[in-house]
Amino acid sequence: MSEKIVITGGTGFVGTHLILELLEQSDAELFCLVRAKNTSAEQRLHQQLAQVIQGSDYAPALINQIKERCHAIEADLQGEITSLAQSIPSGISQFWHCAASLNYEERFAAEIYDINVEGTRKALTLARALNVDCFNYVSTAYVAGRNTGVILELPMAEVQSSNVYEKSKVEAEQLIYAQQDMKYRIFRPSIVIGHSRTYHAINFSGMYGFLRRLIQFKGMMARVQRGYLERESICMNVDPDVPINLVPVDKVAKQAVAIAYSDSSNTIFHLTNPTVPNVGEALAVLFSTAGLPPPKIVQDTTQYAWIDEKFNEKIEFYKSYLTGYKQFDRSASNAALGEHADTTRYAVTANNLNEYCDWYCAKLAQTRSQVPVSR
């Protein structure tokens, strides 16, 4: 009899890739809790997975595996889900909780808390009702908040979060640490970007959100004064030499699944990238993609003009990724992965980062309308 696994967030960025990895690396039957939107939960799930297969380098034959082994169960983490235990078969071995809100504006604070914290609480209750062997939670490396230096794969106790999103992930992790009667693993990816070979992505927060805001700001200023930002560099008070930890989504999924099938007894794993550009290099690529000169790095914000203040306000959420040296320890991850820890394929450098950015800009041009400057 094949293994049975429950997954939340299966239509999300990491969730879709996790499902495909589980289909590839195991013979498990997958039960995915999915919201129905304009289409049924099953249609939505299968369409999203098919889109990811098409955009990445997964074997097209996986489509058949999806139909056979991937079952959608309509559910909404903002509603009641405990009763779903009756409609999910017994014998569930693993529960993967990937669902999360990636919003961060204050007006979403209640929703973020509801999905990320209360949603996790409900997922844990359901997992316990299903008597699962292990609860796997996809968190973020940035539960480290404003901590700097070496960030260990340990529970996060005292931490100053940079925003409501990070805070919600810390609280969700704390709910998981409190589990006495259920084995758990917490996976902490850093800033997840597109597929390492095709650059394909389906979620556009994180680095893509930063790039989009840069493009929007340039557009806004072009309406105020054509060409201004092409002539004048924006000032930023960031640490140009600290690494910015970008990790391709396929690496996150592959390593999470490999760790789950390893014999590691550790509970927290950094799914970060050892080969990444520094902030100065990454910003130069992002600004260049937007058609702007690299930002001028300043030592303090007193050197800001109004435009600098306004731009830095708009990207405030991203500041914690651009300041403060963080070195994510991967001892537990590397030990669990053994020879599979080799990550050269997933290196993100100043040289290939522009490929990810160009892919996104092309996608943006296809999906987003543009209002010409009114003259």
């Binding site: 989009r212 309406r223 004064q225 309308s369």
Partner: protein, 352 residues
């Protein structure tokens, strides 16, 4: 010489004063803020100048349209002070019905019988057949001038440098009276003006949503909208938040520079005989000779110019906005923001 005149300039350059004094000239019809409102504060300029021929009914829709941005400002009692239509009374149009573009300022500026004139214009325009927008505009302005027994019309809209490319394209024989004012004072005055605040807010929202939220219901990108801008979507508009929203003078300084640079590029293509640039400050400090100079350009053959000058000189008042009242940091930022505009004007021999 042309009897079609446009007064052009950046926002808050002092051109309203020009409209007001020209309104007293016996030979001149003053068309005030016409293009401000038919372009919905300059955000729908291409729509006001369609490339294809249109019939009278379609042209009337442009001229008498009830546009979203200008009317939401009436609804929330934050209308620009240029609006002359009594929208708060039980008139034919009010904040609930919306006020047609041409009635916001243009017709009440001409006559107290603006509602009746509105109907007369409607009848004239509706009877027109297919023609270019340019032909329709010529016909409308010509009809209005004739209706009031004037030989010259002068259109003036705040911040009309933004539309000068279209004006020159559609009125290639018109004369252009360019009013320039110290950008720092323009910026400070724009900061206190609800119309320019609305425009800059809409610029920001358009870039996030990818659509003009006042013209489209598409909210696909609304999650990207910062909290501070949510109150300025039409469906969640808050007049109090609008009044509280602070845009610093330096952004308007950048806007002023941008408008000056782009506008001068067009002015450079217009024959010198068709344009005159006057500094607003000269009107204040050297009132008589500057106004005489201006009226010679606008209406060189009129025998009534001297009497008109005598009558209007006393109405020239010094405005209150003075950028020197800002604190040192804001002054410095404003100087930097206006520097590109000043540099462009210096090349044309205009300095402060």
């Amino acid at each position: 010489m042309s009897n079609e005149i446009f007064v052009i300039g950046t926002g808050r350059c002092g051109s309203t004063l020009i409209s007001n004094i020209l309104n007293h000239h016996p030979n001149i019809l003053s068309l005030s803020e016409f293009f401000t409102f038919v372009t919905d504060l300059g955000t729908l300029i291409p729509q006001a100048f369609p490339a294809m021929e249109i019939d009278g009914t379609q042209f009337w829709q442009i001229v008498s349209g009830i546009y979203a941005k200008q009317n939401i400002m009436l609804t929330h009692d934050i209308a620009m002070k240029e609006v002359l239509y009594p929208y708060k009374t039980d008139g034919r149009f009010n904040a609930s019905t919306g006020v047609p573009a041409i009635l916001q300022t243009t017709l009440p500026h001409m006559t107290a019988e603006y509602d009746a004139l509105f109907d007369q214009i409607h009848a004239v325009i509706a009877a027109r057949g297919m023609a270019t927008a340019e032909t329709h505009y010529h016909a409308l302005f010509g009809w209005l001038a004739a209706h009031f027994g004037k030989s010259i019309w002068v259109e003036r809209s705040g911040g009309s440098l933004r539309v000068i490319e279209r004006l020159y394209q559609h009125f290639p024989n018109a004369k252009f009276l360019h009013i320039v004012r110290d950008g720092r004072d323009c910026a400070l005055s724009m900061q206190r003006h609800n119309g320019f605040k609305m425009v800059l807010l809409v610029f920001q929202i358009i870039e996030v949503l990818g659509v003009d939220p006042y013209e489209s219901n598409d909210r696909s990108w609304q999650d990207d909208l910062p909290d501070e801008l949510i109150s300025f979507l039409p469906e969640s508009f808050s007049g109090n938040d609008f009044l509280a929203y602070d845009v610093p003078p330096s952004l308007y300084g950048h806007y002023w520079s941008g408008e000056i640079i782009a506008g001068l590029e067009v002015l450079d293509r217009i024959p010198v005989t068709q344009q005159l640039t006057l500094q607003y400050e000269s009107i204040l400090t050297d009132t008589r000779s500057t106004i005489e100079h201006m009226i010679q350009f606008v209406s060189p053959d009129s025998s009534t110019n001297a009497a008109w000058c005598n009558a209007v000189i006393s109405s020239v008042k010094r405005p209150t906005a003075a950028w020197q009242t800002l604190d040192a940091q804001e002054q410095s930022r404003l100087n930097d923001a206006c520097a590109p505009g000043f540099a462009a004007l210096t090349k044309r021999g205009i300095q402060w």
